[in-house]
Symmetry: C2
Subunit: 308 residues, 2 copies
C-alpha cells in the first residue's frame, strides 16, 4: 500500500555545538518520504520555490517516491535556521522564512486520491482537514501538529482531530492540548477529541503508543554522539507509517512494530546533517538496528519466570 | 538467599496536592524491606529513637524480615517533612531532623555477615564502605547515593564505588557524578569508577539498566493518580534486589526481570501514603501487575517480522 505525505520541503541552516551547515535539504515531507520509502511507495505533496535545486532530491530517483505532487512556485523555497544548545536539549529558531510555503494549498493529483495511508505533517490544521477530504477511502490517517496551532488555531485543529485516526505529538504538547499535566489523563482527553491512537514523542526517553486503552513504551536507542536532531520526528513518522503501509494491517501488534521502525529510522537520521544518513541505508542495516532496539526492551521469557 | 539492607527508619510528614499525613512510617530500609520481603528473606540494619512505636512495624512479623539489626538509641527517631508540588514533579524538603540517625554507625549482627545480596541505602558513603567490609563474601552489592554525597563527600563516595557491583542513581545524578550531560557517556565514566551495573531511575520515564556494555529500558507503569511517591526509589530497589536474591543468579536476563519487579513494587507503593499499599499484597497481585508491565514493553514476535 502507498503512503501519502503532505508537508514541507525546505532548506535548513543548522548549528550544533559540534558543526554547522547552511541550506541543507530539509522539510517534513522530505524526511518523512526518505524514511517511509524503505517500506512502502510514497506519494509526496509539497511546494518549493524556483530557487530549488532538484539535484538535492536526486536520491529519490532510486526510491519508490512519486514526486508528481511536488509543485514549484515562483519565489523562494521555505527556509529555516536554528541552533541547538545545551547538549542538544534545547533548540532556538534563528530565522523562519515561509516564502512559497506561506501560500501552500495542497491539491492532490488524482492518482494520489486512492492513498490508503495518509500522513499530515505539521502544517495549518485547516489545510490538513482539506487534504483528508480529498482522499477517497483512507484506511489510516495520522497527523502531526505543534504548539503554534494548539495556541492560535484550536477550533481548526479540533475539526481536523475529528477526522484522523492518529496524532503524533510530543509530551509537552499533550499537556498543552489537553490542559492536563498527567500525560495519561491528558491522552484520554485527546482521544475524546477524535484520534484513538496517539504517538507521544519524548525525545531521549523514547515514545509512547496509546491505542484505544492499550499502552506501549518504545525506548530510544542510546545515542552517545547526537549529531543533528532536525527532522527526527518526521523521520520517525516515516518509518512508522511506512511500516504500517507495508503490512497493511493496523492493530496493536503492527502499531508496536511500527513504533520500533520509526525509532530505528530516527536513530539513523540524527547521526548526520539533513537526510545524509538515511539517503542510502541497506535493508540489512535497518533490520540489524531493529534487533538491537528489541534487545533494549525485551525480557527473555523462559516459561513462567513471573512466578514468585 | 537473603538480602541485607542498611539504611534508615523514619517518620515522614508528607503533603501532596491531594492529601497530607503526619509522622507516617518511612525510611529507606523500611521501604526496601517491605518490598524485598515478597521475594527473599531480609536482614535489616537501621536505628530508631526511644520514641519509636514498634506497633508501626508489626506488619513485618508476618514477613521474612529479621529485625535483630534494628537498634534503639536514646533520643528521637529520624524525621523528614516534605511537600510535593506541580503534579508531583517537584519535591520540597520542609524539615529534616536526623536525631538518632546522625550517629548511625551500622555494626552487622554476626548472622548477617554471610548475606550474599547487599543493599546500601542512601547513607554516608563512609558508612556504606564499612558495611561492605563487614560482609564475608557478598555476591552482589548495590548502593544508592544522592547529590549531597556527590557534592560534598566525593572522595569517600569514590572509595565506596570501587567495592560495589551496582549503583542505583537518578538521571540528574549521573550527570552530576560523571560531569557529562549525555547519560550514556556519563554512565560509562561511572562504570570506570567501579560498578559495572547501573540502574538509572527516570521517574515517569521508567528506568534504564546498564550492565557492562548492555542496555535495557524498563518503562514506568502508567499512573493516572499518583498519590505519594515518597519511598518509590527504595521500594524499586527492594523489588530489584529481592528478585535477584530469590533467583540467586546475576546476569543480564535476571537483571532485566529484577528491573520489572522493582518497577512493579514501586508502582504499588505510590498508590498510598507510607508503606500502606505494599504491606499486604498478594503474590497474585504482584504477578498480575508484572504481566501488565510486560505488555507495555514487549513486541509480539511471530517469526521474522523484522524482514522488510
Amino acid at each position: 500500500m502507498s503512503v501519502l505525505v503532505v508537508g514541507s520541503m525546505a532548506y535548513d541552516s543548522v548549528e550544533t555545538p559540534f558543526a554547522k551547515v547552511d541550506d541543507a535539504l530539509g522539510g517534513s515531507a522530505t524526511f518523512f518520504a526518505a524514511a517511509a520509502s524503505y517500506f512502502a511507495p510514497v506519494n509526496l505533496v509539497a511546494v518549493v520555490g524556483d530557487d530549488f535545486n532538484f539535484a538535492d532530491i536526486d536520491f529519490f530517483k532510486n526510491k519508490p517516491v512519486d514526486l508528481d505532487g511536488l509543485k514549484t512556485e515562483p519565489g523562494k523555497t521555505f527556509r529555516w535556521a536554528g541552533k541547538y544548545l545545551n547538549n542538544m536539549n534545547d533548540r532556538e529558531t534563528l530565522d523562519t522564512q515561509l516564502n512559497v510555503f506561506e501560500k501552500f494549498n495542497p491539491v492532490l493529483p488524482q492518482k494520489y486520491r486512492n492513498s490508503e495511508y495518509v500522513f499530515l505533517a505539521n502544517i495549518n490544521p485547516d489545510l490538513q482537514y482539506n487534504v483528508v477530504q480529498q482522499v477517497h477511502k483512507p484506511k489510516f490517517v495520522a497527523m502531526d501538529t505543534m504548539n503554534f496551532w494548539i495556541n492560535d488555531y484550536l477550533p481548526d485543529l479540533k475539526r481536523t482531530l475529528k477526522v484522523v485516526d492518529a496524532l503524533v505529538i510530543n509530551d509537552s504538547e499533550v499537556k498543552l492540548l489537553s490542559g492536563n499535566s498527567n500525560i495519561f489523563k491528558g491522552a484520554k482527553l485527546i482521544q475524546e477529541m477524535g484520534p484513538k491512537t496517539l504517538i507521544i514523542k519524548k525525545g531521549e526517553h523514547g515514545a509512547i503508543l496509546i491505542h484505544n486503552n492499550a499502552y506501549f513504551n518504545c525506548p530510544a536507542i542510546p545515542v552517545e554522539d547526537l549529531f543533528d536532531p532536525t527532522g527526527a520526528g518526521d523521520t520517525f513518522a516515516g518509518g512508522f507509517m511506512g511500516y504500517l503501509a507495508m503490512t497493511d494491517k493496523v492493530n496493536l501488534d503492527t502499531l508496536k512494530r511500527a513504533m520500533v521502525m520509526g525509532t530505528v529510522m530516527a536513530s539513523f537520521l540524527v547521526e548526520d546533517f539533513s537526510v545524509n544518513r538515511i539517503k542510502d541505508l541497506s535493508k540489512a542495516e535497518i533490520q540489524a538496528r531493529a534487533k538491537v532496539l528489541l534487545t533494549l526492551m525485551q525480557v527473555q521469557e523462559d516459561g513462567d519466570w513471573i512466578k514468585i
